[in-house]
């Protein structure tokens, strides 16, 4: 009896394994991902409609968290800083391209140079933040003596509400430029040498060559560079937390940081309000996610 069931089961597996196998392989991954990533997104939307301190009873208050956001100056400061981050962070792309072009040679030791130029990206943002905080520090940092050479300063970059965000962005650009550089170096490796030679015979060089021959071939690298840079800009949290804690006077907050501050710090555990900020940040990011998926979908169709 038991023997027949076993052959039956094996028979079922035999007959259906092509349909069952993918789900078998997907099950653990999907379960984890749904539990920790997909459901929480919806839960955050829901929590944003409540007043909740994370422990006690949650009270439904409708859209009131969002109404409060509209009158919250700290929210606008954060939003403005997010825009600054987004725009200025994109400088990492031309910056990375520039260094990649500079290093795309075959002299001796160039491989080591490429690695050393890249390695700010490997260091944790926390350490990058610390390093730059000391670099800017008016009493021990090298920044003021450096700008002093050009007759500028001295200034306290991180202590001044007008400069603090730019100072942090500059620190953030450092690893990001390294990242874009490596993307472009890989892209440049794949540039078709025959096209370059042909263009050279036609008298193209310098900027025109770069613009009309090289950059079109670097499109995939540029696309990825834009995606990772935008996402990096909107995710900026570590550096702000380490370098300034959002200060001075909250002037270097971004949405990601303000959300954390509202929900998990001495400002009180306002989970609902924090979730509302997170929802706004998520909706901004959604534009880019949708764009990325749309492009991917177009490519898949051609597959």
């Amino acid at each position: 009896m038991s023997v027949t069931t076993e052959t039956d089961q094996r028979g079922w597996w035999r007959r259906n394994q092509m349909r069952a196998a993918p789900w078998l392989f997907l099950a653990p991954g999907i379960a984890f991902f749904a539990l920790y990533v997909i459901f929480p997104i919806f839960q955050s939307f829901q929590i944003s409609l409540y007043r909740w301190d994370g422990l006690g009873e949650a009270r439904y208050i409708g859209m009131r968290n969002y109404h409060e956001l509209l009158d919250d100056p700290a929210f606008y400061t954060s939003l403005r800083n997010n825009v600054k981050w987004l725009l200025l962070y994109l400088l990492a792309i031309p910056g990375g391209l520039f260094i990649a072009l500079f290093l795309n040679q075959q002299v001796r030791g160039i491989r080591l140079y490429k690695s050393l130029f890249f390695f700010p990206f490997v260091i944790s943002q926390v350490v990058v933040g610390l390093v730059f905080a000391w670099f800017y520090n008016p009493s021990i940092g090298l920044f003021n003596p450096l700008i002093g050479l050009f007759g500028l300063g001295p200034m306290n970059v991180l202590g001044n509400p007008n400069t603090v965000t730019y100072g942090i962005i500059a620190a953030g650009l450092w690893p990001q430029i390294a990242y874009c550089m490596i993307l472009y170096l890989t892209g440049l490796n794949a540039v078709d040498p025959e096209q370059v030679e042909a263009a050279r015979l036609d008298g193209a060089k310098g900027w025109r060559m770069l613009w009309y021959v090289i950059l079109p071939q670097l499109r995939p690298a540029t696309f990825i560079a834009v995606v990772v840079t935008v996402i990096g800009a909107l995710r900026s949290f570590d550096m702000i937390s380490v370098m300034t804690n959002g200060g001075p006077f909250g002037s270097s907050r971004v949405l990601a940081y303000y959300m954390f501050e509202v929900s998990l710090s001495e400002y009180g555990f306002r989970m609902g309000y924090g979730a509302a900020i997170a929802v706004v940040l998520f909706l901004i990011m959604l534009v880019y996610i949708a764009f990325f998926l749309w492009r991917m979908w177009r490519e898949e169709r051609g597959y």
Binding site: P28, F33, V37, I41, V122, I123, V126, W134, V196
Partner: protein, 282 residues
């Protein structure tokens, strides 16, 4: 090649280029070099205002030893290892399976599941923060390394699936078809045919995830607190308040905290870059 190789240019250009390289590198790494210099100086150099000059004595060895003997740094480093290594194993294992399923089989919801992983991988952490913290609390895993590991595995599965699936798509399909004709079961195809071919992808992904997780700060702060559980990225802040204003010690501590991923990168450079630049050409 673009730009024109310097070998084809005049001698003057070649010499200038070779001279510019180290200069540019020094400028580029300036902030880091400053910290490296700080870390080998004695305390007295800072009080006497000898900041960037030659160290009055080389005490690098003493400073770095003190990081290990006088602080909780070894504990934090160990925590980082116990968080990072299981995450790498878990995320790579899960995504080998999901990548295989999405890369090999054609079924209607395939692309949507794939997009779910890709989209989830890009969401801002903040939208997950409150529910994930709550979930971890309810599971009794708040302030444990396991709680952090489980979340990291789940989140990294998004990126890893994207990576693995694209890699498997590029493998020759004939191998799988041939095995099927022979009557090999799907599970055996996964284990004996596809998995061995995925070795380079597994290596690349492992190095990448190791770096990502080692450098994570946000989730460490959200899901753990204290010396027993926090990884070194979060511990460095505690370390710095212990050595407040002792810049030589803080510098040495930071360098030690940053070192493991750097070593990983230099050892596994080829895999690392292959992983990072996947999709940069095509």
């Amino acid at each position: 090649m673009f730009p024109t190789p310097v070998e084809r240019r005049s001698n003057a250009v070649q010499t200038t280029y070779k001279a510019l390289l180290p200069l540019a590198l020094i400028l580029w790494l300036m902030p880091l070099l400053m910290v490296a210099l700080f870390s080998i100086k004695p305390d007295s150099d800072f009080t006497q205002g000898n900041l960037w000059g030659w160290p009055s004595s080389f005490v690098g060895f003493e400073n770095y030893t003190r990081v290990f003997t006088d602080s909780a740094m070894p504990r934090y480093l160990l925590n980082s290892v116990f968080i990072t290594v299981p995450t790498v194993i878990g995320a790579v294992a899960l995504s080998c399976m999901t990548g295989f399923a999405l890369g090999v089989y054609r079924f209607r919801s395939n692309i949507w599941i794939f997009f779910m992983f890709v989209a989830g991988n890009f969401v801002p952490f903040q939208i997950l923060m409150v529910p994930v913290r709550d979930l971890t609390l309810n599971l009794g895993l708040y302030d444990t390394r396991l709680g952090l590991v489980l979340f990291h595995i789940a989140f990294q599965t998004g990126f890893c699936t994207l990576f693995m699936r694209n890699f498997i798509r590029a493998l020759p399909r004939e191998l799988i078809e041939a095995a099927r004709v022979e009557g090999v079961s799907e599970i055996r195809i996964f284990w004996y045919v596809v998995l061995p071919l995925m070795r380079p992808a597994i290596a690349a992904l492992s190095v990448l995830i190791f770096t990502f997780i080692w450098n994570d700060y946000f989730w460490a702060v959200v899901l753990t607190q204290g010396v027993e559980t926090q990884p070194v990225t979060a511990g460095i802040t505690a370390f710095n308040s212990q050595f407040r204003a002792a810049y030589h010690m803080m510098s040495a501590g930071s360098i030690i905290a940053a070192l493991p991923p750097v070593m990983m990168f230099f050892l596994m450079q080829k895999h690392f870059i292959a992983g990072l630049t996947l999709g940069a050409v095509k």
